[in-house]
């Protein structure tokens, strides 16, 4: 059986698929690839099922050795120095292309210079143990028994490859963050004043260092005036824009809490979540209010 050995996990890497459905009412976030699109592109190129697991890497990619021949693909954030080495020979690994990796070869992903998260997909998918129906690691809570971040020496089994469907996909390298991120009115929008609502849709926010899969923290702009205090706990979803008392919004991520007591001013439309996932610390984000029905048509894939 083929496998991949983790020589160096990089800054933070974990196995992810499309997440864990059906356990949110027990406090378990859906999780899965934060940038779903990057994961799906890898699956598509390699002929994998959409839910076959890939490795999500963050800012600095890892180093992996292949035990058995493999077909691989890097997608999502751009890692321009990615290379594959076997003995003396080394070749670059282009973005969003099928690459054959011979048994024994070593993939060095290196820095992710555009975007925040790069996926390593492999034909057949990583077949690590599934918990509650998913291989996605809940990295914030390693004791929960729902996976953990990759560590040096981990050996990840690989499934039986399907038939590659295409060699590459010619689309934009990364969901660029310079396009505005579309938001719709949130659960507690009525508690915010006109000025604050307008500010969220017009000013620039700066992504903070403390951001992770649970939430992307924003600074740079503070909502003016009093923001509503804590509210009765309500169900929350990835993309919800919470505003704590300091007036600096947090966009909940795929591992974000399933309930929360901070007022929610807006929600990022599902189609734009990959762009939130790819936002790097110090990136500047702008939001744009859109109509809920227009957002639904985008989420349904009827319009861009």
């Amino acid at each position: 059986m083929s496998a991949v050995r983790v020589i160096d996990p990089g800054m933070q890497s974990s196995v992810q698929d499309l997440g864990r459905a059906g356990y949110r009412q027990m406090g378990v976030p859906t999780g899965g690839a934060f940038d779903r699109e990057a994961h799906l592109i890898g699956s598509l190129i390699l002929g994998n099922d959409s839910n076959d697991a890939s490795i999500e890497m963050t800012l600095v990619g890892g180093m992996f050795q292949f035990e058995g021949d493999a077909c691989i693909c890097l997608s999502g954030g751009h890692a321009p120095d990615a290379s594959l080495t076997l003995g003396e020979r080394s070749m670059p690994v282009p973005h969003q292309r099928l690459v054959q990796a011979a048994s024994g070869s070593v993939l060095r992903v290196g820095s992710i210079t555009e975007g925040m998260r790069t996926h390593l997909s492999i034909a057949g998918g990583f077949t690590t143990k599934a918990d509650l129906g998913s291989r996605s690691a809940l990295v914030s809570t390693p004791d929960a028994g729902l996976g953990r971040s990759l560590r040096v020496g981990d050996v990840l089994p690989v499934g039986i490859p399907g038939k590659p469907s295409m060699n590459s996909i010619e689309i934009g390298i990364v969901q660029r963050v310079d396009r505005k991120i579309r938001i719709v009115p949130g659960h507690h929008m009525g508690l915010f004043n006109e000025k604050q609502i307008q500010q969220l849709g017009s000013q620039e926010f700066v992504v903070q260092m403390q951001s992770n899969r649970a939430g992307v923290r924003l600074g740079g702009t503070t909502l003016v005036g009093d923001v509503p205090g804590r509210v009765a706990s309500v169900g929350t979803l990835p993309g919800y824009v919470q505003v704590p008392s300091d007036g600096q919004p947090i966009v909940l991520g795929v591992d974000g809490p399933v309930t929360g007591g901070y007022p929610v001013i807006a929600c990022v439309i599902e189609a734009d979540l990959p762009r939130v996932a790819q936002a790097r610390p110090n990136d500047r984000l702008r939001f744009e209010w859109v109509d809920r029905n227009a957002a639904l048509r985008v989420s349904q894939g009827k319009v861009d």
Binding site: G27, T141, V234, V258, G260, E270, S299
Partner: protein, 229 residues
């Protein structure tokens, strides 16, 4: 005040609220169960929390006003008590209230101007309701604790709270299922496992709407039950 509200909270979610119903009781939990059954694949998730239920929809399956109408009808039926199969479960959770495993016990008793025994009596006499689950897998917000025990959260949260810690803050009490950061006051420790993913059903000991009581166990018993796990 209407009996219930149905509001879109994004292009893919609807919040159903029962303003007059008590949190975590038959109406909202029954409604959540009924919504799950009736919506089937149209709902990715149905999460009861506090005063209502959040329905996360499958966007592909949202056509016209059908889903919204079905949710309205279901909320109405839940209020009328029709087709409800839901019932709460009762849990008795052992807690060791001992300074060796309860770093804030003495400080909380002092802040509440009572003896440690009075604190334990107040914490164990109440039957709590799981009002919502969140923060971490299996972490239940149990309400409400006796008013005499209600304190604001700690100014500085701890970066690591041990698994099993029994804590209070504001009007809630909870058991931390895992070692995580936490800003509540730690008054006890329980040997009971709250979340076992290997156990597909129930996997979380607590569900929203369940009733919970705590009972005090001595330090030795805590240790032997902990090591027997």
């Amino acid at each position: 005040m209407p009996d219930f509200l149905v509001n879109w909270t994004s292009e893919r979610s609807i919040w159903v609220e029962f303003p007059d119903a008590q949190y975590g009781t038959r109406v909202s939990c029954g409604a959540a169960d009924l919504l799950r059954r009736r919506l089937g694949e149209q709902a990715r998730s149905v999460v009861p929390a506090g005063p209502g239920v959040l329905v996360e929809l499958e966007p592909e399956l949202v056509v016209g006003n059908e889903v919204e109408s079905l949710i309205n009808q279901t909320a109405r039926d839940a209020l009328a008590g029709e087709d409800l199969e839901w019932s709460p479960r009762d849990h008795l959770i052992p807690v060791c209230y001992d300074n060796r495993v309860s770093p804030d016990l003495r400080a909380v008793a002092e802040a509440c101007a009572m003896s440690i025994q009075e604190l334990i009596d107040l914490h164990t006499k109440e039957v709590y309701i799981v009002e919502s689950i969140g923060f971490s897998p299996g972490f239940g917000y149990l309400g409400s604790i006796d008013e005499r025990l209600q304190l604001p959260r700690r100014k500085t949260p701890r970066t690591q709270v041990p698994a099993g810690s029994v804590a209070i803050a504001e009007r809630f009490t909870a058991v931390y299922p895992f070692q995580t950061p936490g800003g509540w006051h730690l008054i006890g420790r329980s040997p009971t496992a709250l979340f076992l993913p290997s156990d597909d059903s129930p996997c979380s000991l607590l569900r929203v709407g369940d009733r919970v009581r705590f009972h005090a166990i001595p330090y030795d018993e805590y240790n032997s039950r902990k090591s027997a796990e």
